[in-house]
């Protein structure tokens, strides 16, 4: 098990394994997306208050979850980089940042599109929206800092520290719902006793969340492979490809 992990950490091995997984991941992502979209857009009944326009949550909520999840992944990679100097973690961290930024952007855009019919405005300075916007800035900071440093191994260490510092912000985002009284509706899925969302809506939502996870891994593998080739372009295993 440990050996398997150890081998996965070596760039040529990861490059090969990721290449083998990509077709499978593509199929799983497409199937989950189709199932989730079918369930969400066609099967699920309209909401008794919000009508049809609530359906945007099937994209909005999973991308908001992903925006937080990916930042945590980056912070974990950051810790691995600082402790073990593992090359693959550097690649994963850097490749995750643009994907995470896109999910954050998607969550903001879908949220504001939903806000127009529901709240009557595209944007309110509500705590959650603002913290999502700040999360976007944190992602952009990570990308910007990585671009500004020429030596990519040094850049990865800098970004690792930044990601760890930024992860302090994640709990603030998460608990902002409870801390500040705001317009955004409270959590409906993770209530402990009984979720206040009906299963016909919950099931497609979870399917979509799963699809987004798989999409993330898929996009990550593609980006990691490209990044590995760029970094190791002078090494022997790349020449042999």
């Amino acid at each position: 098990m440990f050996l398997w992990f150890h081998k996965l950490g070596s760039p040529p091995h990861f490059y090969r394994i990721a290449g083998k997984w990509i077709p499978w991941l593509t199929w799983i992502t497409v199937l989950l997306l189709l199932a989730g979209l079918y369930g969400g857009l066609i099967e699920a009944p309209p909401d008794y208050q919000q009508g049809e326009s609530y359906r945007i949550i099937f994209v909005h909520v999973p991308s908001a979850w992903m925006s937080l999840f990916i930042y945590v992944v980056m912070a974990v990679c950051g810790a691995i980089i600082i402790i073990w100097r593992m090359k693959l973690a550097e690649v994963v961290l850097i490749s995750s940042a643009p994907i995470g930024a896109s999910f954050t952007f998607l969550a903001l855009v879908t949220g504001s599109l939903w806000g127009k019919p529901m709240w009557g405005t595209y944007w309110v300075w509500d705590a959650r929206l603002t913290s999502e916007l700040i999360l976007l800035f944190l992602y952009l900071g990570v990308i910007g800092l990585h671009n500004a440093i020429d030596d990519k191994r040094t850049a990865a260490r800098a970004v690792a520290i930044l990601a760890l510092v930024g992860v302090v912000n994640i709990p603030i985002i998460h608990y902002s719902v409870e801390w500040w009284h705001s317009l955004h509706q409270g959590p409906t899925v993770t209530k402990f006793d009984k979720p206040s969302i009906h299963w016909s809506m919950l099931l497609p939502l979870l399917l979509m969340a799963l699809a987004f996870q798989f999409y993330y891994v898929l996009a990550l593998f593609h980006r990691c492979r490209a990044e590995l080739l760029r970094r190791e372009r002078n090494s022997k295993w790349v020449e042999e490809l």
Binding site: I82, T130, I134, F137, L138, L140, G141, G144, L145, A148, I149, T154, R157, A158, I161, L162, L164, V165, G166, V168, N169, I172
Partner: protein
């Protein structure tokens, strides 16, 4: 030096050195304060001189200006030491770098944060902030500006080796300043409307303790990265 400094001596030594450097270089360190006053002066010019409006937005104006002034002065924490090589000596010393970093940040706060504290009552009065809110304003600045220096030190440590670190520094640091801004401004707001601001003050204290205990470690790690 043949004898070894104790940790406390090293801390005091570094603090005194930085304060002395600041004293010899007064003009440079007066800039953030001037900037603070200037930015605040711009707001009445842009928004009109209605006393009611100014009094209402005064906490926000003062805090945004303080944030920007702190941003502007951040570079001086490590820049000159990085340029003349004394930063490497600090990193090579036998003492924990985090503690030495804390000494440098303390010096930076004494030189840039405290002047804001002294100028704030005057500006608050000029903006017509209600009298009962002013002690709270001073308290938030007293608690908030050290946090700005501590968090900013991480950003500077990450960017000090870069040729064009300035722009990227603001992108790194300003998002992290947001909680301070929110709680400081809302504490003053509460006090101005006659409510109890202690909840926000406690939050600021919590942030201060959190950043004092964690930020020097991150800064030390970032400095090692920048110097290597």
């Amino acid at each position: 030096m043949s004898h070894r400094l104790s940790l406390t001596q090293a801390f005091v030594f570094l603090l005194r050195r930085d304060l002395l450097l600041a004293l010899r270089n007064r003009a440079e360190y007066a800039m953030p304060l001037l900037f603070f006053v200037l930015v605040i002066t711009l707001f009445p010019l842009a928004l009109g001189t209605s006393a009611e409006l100014l009094a209402r937005i005064a906490p926000g104006i003062i805090w945004v200006a303080a944030l920007l002034a702190a941003m502007l002065s951040l570079d001086s924490i490590f820049r000159s030491d990085f340029d003349d090589g004394s930063l490497e000596q600090i990193l090579l010393s036998a003492h924990p770098v985090a503690v030495l970093v804390l000494a440098k940040v303390t010096a930076h706060w004494l030189v840039t944060g405290v002047p804001l504290l002294l100028a704030a009552p005057l500006l608050a009065e000029m903006l017509g902030m209600p009298g009962e809110a002013q002690p709270v304003l001073l308290l938030t600045i007293l608690l908030g500006t050290p946090i700005l220096s501590l968090i900013g030190a991480i950003g500077v440590a990450l960017t000090v080796g870069l040729r064009k670190g300035g722009i990227i520094l603001s992108l790194l640091v300003l998002p992290l300043y947001v909680p301070v801004l929110i709680f400081a401004a809302s504490a003053i707001e509460n006090a101005a409307s006659g409510f109890d601001p202690s909840a926000q003050i406690y939050m600021l204290m919590a942030f201060l303790f959190l950043s004092t205990s964690l930020s020097p470690w991150a800064t030390a790690a970032a400095l090692r990265m920048s110097v290597s």
